[in-house]
């Protein structure tokens, strides 16, 4: 079974979601639910930190696209923290996600 952890730290204006482990078809729906619950209030910015994510396939990218379109409708800014050169970064770049959210190499 594929395991992922979703850790959420929320402040008044921002939510930071750190993903670790692996995301694929087996656990994508569960991860998506956890992320949806994490953004229940109305922050100004949501950052998703993929630094500690060991593996993600296109099911993971779908989660990010779904999140991006939801946040766009709510006028909430989305940023992704993805280490340069990682396979996750390559996958995100291949999928054309950069038009939807800023990609940052490291967190603040």
């Amino acid at each position: 079974m594929t395991d992922a952890r979703v850790e959420v730290s929320a402040e008044s204006r921002s939510v930071r979601i750190s993903l670790s482990g692996e995301i694929d078809l087996a656990n994508a729906a569960a991860v998506e639910d956890e992320i949806r619950e994490a953004v229940s209030n109305q922050p100004v910015i949501v950052s998703v930190d993929l630094t500690d994510l060991n593996y993600m396939d296109s099911a993971g990218v779908r989660i990010l696209f779904t999140l991006a379109s939801r946040l766009q409708a709510l006028r909430i800014t989305l940023e992704l923290i993805v280490p340069p050169g990682s396979s996750t970064r390559r996958l995100i770049e291949l999928s054309g996600f950069e038009s939807l959210a800023a990609l940052k190499p490291a967190g603040p």
Partner: protein, 154 residues
């Protein structure tokens, strides 16, 4: 598409090109379930690493094989088997996977997001299907090929 004759599983057994000692062939047969996918993608990455693929190509093949299997698992019939064959050639790995599907008008998932990702990750991608008929399940087969070196990004 002779491989679809009833009773046959995978194609090209003993084909001349595959009897070469420099070509390694490996077959996995699993239940068509998400539980199988981590193992299959790990095998893919291991084969690529042993074949001296560069790191980006190993990552690409791992994700491509994952997506390929995930597509088939999504559309597989209940209790279907997933067949996955790897052919490791010098500088190139070919993957063919197939599974049975229930009656679907157009079971090829070639318009999906995962399919577009697959096309980006692999050097060649193909899919074929045979529709179900009364008393016989359909079958979908997806193939990909990945070269050892990732072409430099422009």
């Amino acid at each position: 598409m002779t491989y679809l004759d009833s009773g046959t599983s995978m194609p090209n057994h003993g084909a001349d090109s595959d009897s070469d000692e420099s070509v390694l062939s490996l077959e996995l047969r699993t239940t068509a379930s998400t539980v199988s996918i981590p193992t299959i993608r790990t095998v893919a990455a291991d084969l690529a690493a042993r074949a001296d693929f560069d790191l980006d190509s190993i990552d690409d093949l791992r994700m491509a094989v994952d997506d390929l299997c995930a597509m088939l698992v999504r559309i597989a019939a209940a209790d279907a088997t997933l067949y996955c064959t790897f052919t490791v050639r010098p500088e190139r790995i070919e993957v063919a996977a197939e599974t049975d599907v229930d009656d679907l008008a157009d079971p090829l998932p070639t318009g999906s997001f995962a399919w577009r990702v697959l096309q980006c990750l692999a050097d060649e991608v193909g899919a074929t299907s045979v529709p179900a008929e009364p008393g016989r399940r359909g079958r979908v087969r997806i193939t990909l090929a990945k070269d050892a070196l990732t072409a430099p990004q422009p």
